[in-house]
Amino acid sequence: MNLAYRDVRHNFGRFMVTCFGLSLLLGVVLAMIGIYRGLIADALELVDTIDADIWVVEKGTRGPFAESSRIPRDTRNSVARIFGIKSVGAVTFQSIETESDGKKLRLYVIGYEPGQLGGPKYITEGRGLTGRNFEAVVDSRTGLDIGDHIQLGRNGFTIVGTTVNAVSSGGEPAIYLSLDDAQKLQFDLSPSATRRERARGAVVVNSTDTVSAVIARTSPNASNDNIVKTIERWKHFAAMTEEQQGIILTQSVVEKARKQIGMFTAILILVSAVIIALIIHTMTMDKIREIATLKLIGAPDRVIIGLIVQQALAMGLIGFAMGGLLIFNIQDFFPKRLVLQPMDGLSLAGVVVVICLLSSIYGVYTALKVDPAKALAG
């Protein structure tokens, strides 16, 4: 006869309310982990989507995401001539705020040369850019549809295609423009800054014909590290591999936020542990008389331990499952992306099991110490 089950069944409502409370808590923990993963995924998404093996940026910077970088567009020609380079592209990046349907919309403008590297990875609807002016491809998260018009700077753009997985490390959805349009936009939006750049003139040969970075893919048997070294020897450029760019993004761009969320998640797990321990202890204390009676009628310790531990585990796992279900179903309502990974879910389930077992120790200890004579008092 499974006493844990009988007790739960008899107090089903109360047990489920407890599980539900716990599920909210564990749901928040799960959401926190999802936010943490989402932050990292957002940070890396663009680099993953662009999928370049080599990033070439302005010397002395760790651009184009962590710091701003400006190099001449024709750098791509020099890069293309390096042995082992298969294809190249020149790209610009810029955050911009505009309006759509009367609502503020933050966009991440990516300028690239159609036909070269740097464009959207997939076109989910419509078509890619062809080189004609004032056309754009947008990430579906912008909420814009094909045929929509959007005002950027002095010009209106027509959406001709949509894509996915293109979002800046800050979570702004991307809008792809042709490099010429993007450069014009940059020039329109910050004429004074551009003028200063022009005055400085060091790297910038033709002041408006600059890009944020030049990207390249290498042939399978080429050594990316050697290519990076080659470019580093050039006077005005810094280079890094895709992996290094990823490290810069996670470590410097989102590092603080990452630590913040990581720490908060740890605190939440700790709080959950304490609450689970309290619930289990209360559950045990509520049954102290029954436990004493079990001892009176001769039940061995393992029956009493089973009663407590099984209920603790059931509560933890049901609470976890409900919490998981809850977050899974509402994940799309979060303003920023939640990334719910099965492994994270499994790990948290493991943590919950461990917490339940550890929390049971106190309850079990109390239960085993109970004097059976305690059940005799009227």
């Binding site: 006493l3 008899h10 029954e290 009628i297």
Partner: protein, 231 residues
Amino acid sequence: MTENKKPLISIKNLSKHFGEGETRVDALRNINLDIFPEQVIGLLGPSGSGKSTLLNVIGCILEPTRGQIELDGELVYNDRWLRSDLRGLRLEKVGFIFQAHNLMPFLSSMDNVAVVLDLAGYSASAARTRAGELLEYLEVGNRVEAFPGSLSGGEAQRVAIARALANRPRIVLADEPTAALDSERAGIVMDLLRKVAIDQQAAVIVVTHDEKIYDRFDQIFHLRDGILSQT
């Protein structure tokens, strides 16, 4: 007739006191008592005289201060417990009917009885059959699926009696088993205890204030301020 058998319960020079100094209560003073198979014994005495204490000590629930307890030929206490697995002993040999019946609130009447059999290793169906018979006999067969919270005092008491007797104990200790029962039901309970004494060669001790059952005992003992005497 009983004298040529070995006693099932044998108690020698047993004392129990609570507290020390000013607050010391001598609940049992130098008790000697032998109870044989088939005997149904009445234990009477004013409130606070030590009746429950004596039952609890015999049932190995409470540790005495000094003396000897022998149950079914096994010396279990000699100024200290000689057996570590007292719960196993209780499960196997002792049926305890508690003053406050102590049913599990989350188990039905049936399961409250069956749980003892389950612990004793009966199969689920054998446990239910045995529990059902006892409950039927005690006239609570119509309440087998009810939970203790919905039982009347007398019904709960009879379920507790069924639980105590389920595993066919050879030592039955009953603390006021008929307190909540009318005389007819009290008679049924006493008949059952008598039947158990004979069928299982058991020794039965009944603590009671219930005058209507005084004539059901083979012997009656009195406790007064922890001192035992026989009438």
